[in-house]
């Protein structure tokens, strides 16, 4: 009994002291709450960015709050909107832009762009069009990109040398990709399973959190073959037409030939362990790989060119300003600041992300930096032919799921690529017919 009382008292004291700590550090500055999901390796760069902003804007304090990415961010946003506790700015994803807009939760960017402290038409047109597509819903801009990403080919030069391939000539076409993948796949100890894998085809469960990541990596192949995701009127998906079938057949052929079914899906780890020779990857991993792969001769190459064209897929993180904010102007000040060319150059150098506008490439210091960092440069040069799988304004999540199922069935399963894609298309086309358009 006595012990319980003592314990309770101690607890009360702890509560007290712990609560007080949280109340400090509130000056007279305007506070802007910013939700983000930068991974721990990016946090130091992000803190530098915020420091620079606050140095230049002493009256504004950015209160950055880390939210684990993916579902956690969605759940936090939903509960926040329902209870009027939304942040001022948040990272958002194109997947649920529609829901945020229909719930009237976020501002149209035009409200700020057209305003006094706005952006000129020239500035707006400097932003890569694919990124603007990703920030928009039904043709209206609801967010602005903070950084860009795209997909390149990560490859192990030592493996190339061992297979008597030129390490400075990564595969440039689909045929080469396939040939090299086979040449680089080895069963070193001859136990019947491959120990080294030529090319990692990213197959993940369609039901899982990585399905979007898998589909995202497939888009470039669809485009390279001359295909399209959806028709311009957004009434019918087009990925089950011959180019799409060709792209999925390529994946299927490599997947089956390399027996990837029996291989790990942690491609980055496998690459670091020297067990994967080529894999697709994005610039966000550069800081980590620079540290992790010191003893390896590796590089980033552009994605191989398809039968019809060069293409990679565009991505990035998008900032939206919430209507529940009490400080929309301060929030906008930050969003506008972060897309300035000098800041974009600074941010790209610090974080390894790509700039969102072409003006950055005219900054001499940045150009010099790129020359010293050829891997980043490869990604930056790809920005030009980065495409967005958008607009896809209706049933986007359902479509991602359907496409993921098709890809999974054709590779992991034994369904014919054409049949798998048809099944997805039929399902989504049916849904698209139910959309009320106005």
């Amino acid at each position: 009994m006595k012990r319980t009382v003592v314990l309770m008292m101690m607890l009360l004291l702890l509560w007290q002291s712990a609560c007080q700590k949280g109340e400090q550090d509130r000056g007279s500055r305007t506070t802007v709450v910013f939700w983000h999901s930068f991974v721990s390796s990016t946090i130091p760069a992000f803190n530098k960015l915020l420091q620079r902003f606050e140095d230049e804007h002493p009256d504004i304090h950015i209160k950055a709050q880390y939210i684990p990415s993916g579902d956690a961010l969605i759940q936090k946003l939903i509960t926040a909107i329902q209870s009027n506790t939304a942040p001022d700015i948040s990272w958002i994803h194109a997947d649920y832009l529609e829901d945020l807009v229909t719930a009237d939760a976020i501002y149209k960017m035009d409200a700020f762009i057209q305003g006094e402290n706005g952006l000129s038409e020239e500035e707006m047109s400097d932003i890569y069009p694919s990124l603007k597509q990703l920030s928009s819903w039904r043709g209206t801009l609801y967010s602005l990109p903070m950084e860009a990403t795209n997909l390149g080919l990560l490859y192990n030069k030592d493996h190339f040398r061992q297979a008597k391939l030129d390490p400075e000539k990564p595969p440039a076409t689909w045929q080469e990709l396939k040939d090299y993948a086979l040449k680089l796949t080895l069963d070193k100890d001859e136990d019947g399973t491959f120990d080294q894998l030529g090319f990692f085809v990213p197959i993940y469960p369609a039901s899982g959190p990585l399905n979007g990541w898998m589909v995202w990596q497939w888009f470039p192949y669809l485009w390279q073959a001359g295909g399209h995701v959806i028709n311009p009127e957004q009434t019918r998906v087009l990925y089950n037409e011959p180019p799409g079938v060709k792209a999925l057949t390529l994946w299927r052929d490599i997947y089956k030939a390399l027996n990837l079914k029996t291989f790990t899906t942690d491609y980055d780890i496998a690459f670091a362990a020297g067990r994967v020779s080529m894999a697709m990857d994005g610039p966000w991993n550069l800081p980590r790989f620079n540290k992790m792969l010191k003893n390896m001769d590796w590089a980033i190459a552009p994605l191989p060119q398809g039968p019809e064209m060069k293409a990679t897929v565009a991505g990035g993180e998008y900032l939206a300003i919430f209507k529940q904010t009490e400080v929309p102007d301060a929030a906008w000040t930050f969003v506008k600041w972060v897309i300035q060319p000098e800041i974009q150059a600074f941010w790209s150098i610090e974080s390894g992300y790509l700039p969102i506008r072409s003006k950055v490439l005219e900054i001499p210091a940045y150009v010099t930096y790129l020359d010293e960092n050829p891997n980043l440069k490869t990604y930056v040069l790809q920005l030009e032919h980065s495409k967005a799988p958008r607009p896809f304004d209706y049933y986007n999540m359902e479509n991602t799921r359907a496409m993921a199922q098709a890809i999974e069935k054709a590779t992991l399963g034994d369904v014919d690529p054409k049949a798998a894609l048809d099944e997805a298309a039929v399902k989504i086309n049916k849904l698209l017919k139910t959309v009320e358009r106005n």
Partner: protein, 275 residues
């Protein structure tokens, strides 16, 4: 000792130790992995003991975030909930196990029923209530919803049912109140059950991820499990750091369990009844 009997004892030992080894192996693997450098983590065939003990992962994991603060928060929440729930659950369990009142069985079934609805669909309404109360991003939001539980009530009720009534009857005749009977007779007799429940509650709140995620916004309010999430992005997992962080998050409870065992194993249960 007969040879047959000693053979039996030996085989029981083998069975129980082999099982324990299998059970603890994944955790041991986690500890060993957390002490390896990344290069060694990736080696195949896997190495068993680390070539060199790599405490850098721990240092790095702790440097990434203010884990000290996270531990403080987690302890405050877990201890508050444990004490509160032991109190509310034992009272409610007493009512269900010992008192006769109108609608008792129906109410009990309702308690059981609420456990059958997964938390994923009740999360949002609960959040909104906390918002109405103005408790978002405070300890209240983390603690108060955890002050009652159908699980704990159910567990204690089942144990109270196994306690013979003779002792209580004697106490009632001596003029003891019902609360007195619960406090002086039933609770001391249920020490193993209370200790078991205490460790379950403590562990639950120590490991809870989803609820703190939803109600906590600021850095100062974060718990250990939220802190660990930073090593596990959607696309990549920082194995070395996550392992180190998880090991340190597991050790405190493991220690509590190891020390507190005597309470729920060597209870003085029912000793008064041996005749």
């Amino acid at each position: 000792m007969k040879p047959l009997k000693s053979l039996k004892i030996v085989s029981i030992h083998i069975f129980i130790y082999a099982g324990a080894l299998l059970t603890v192996a994944p955790f041991l693997w986690m500890v060993l992995t957390s002490l390896k450098g990344l290069g060694e983590i990736l080696a195949y065939p896997p190495t068993f003991l680390p070539e060199t003990f790599h405490f850098g992962n721990y240092v790095e994991a702790f440097r990434t975030a203010s884990f000290g603060r996270y531990y403080l928060n987690t302890f405050i929440v877990a201890v508050s909930c444990t004490l509160g729930q032991l109190m509310t659950c034992s009272m409610a369990a007493f009512a269900f196990a010992r008192l006769r009142f109108w609608g008792r069985d129906a109410l009990f079934l309702l308690f059981l029923g609420t456990m059958m609805i997964p938390g994923q669909v009740t999360m949002i309404p609960t959040f909104i209530i906390l918002y109405w109360l103005g408790w978002i991003d405070t300890y209240w939001a983390l603690v108060v919803p955890g002050l009652a539980s159908a699980f704990g009530t159910f567990l204690l009720r089942q144990f109270f049912l196994t306690i013979p009534r003779e002792l209580e009857d004697a106490a009632y005749i001596d003029g003891c109140s019902r609360f007195g009977v619960l406090w002086r007779i039933i609770l001391p007799l249920s020490r193993p059950a209370l200790a078991t429940l205490a460790i379950f509650i403590f562990m639950y709140f120590f490991n809870d991820f989803l609820w703190p995620l939803i109600v906590v916004n600021s850095e100062e309010m974060r718990t250990v499990q939220l802190g660990l999430a930073v090593f596990r992005d959607r696309y990549l997992t920082q194995w070395d750091l996550l392992m180190a962080g998880s090991v340190t998050a597991t050790l405190p409870i493991l220690l509590v369990f190891f020390v507190a065992q005597k309470y729920f194993i060597k209870g003085i249960t029912l000793s008064g009844l041996k005749d």
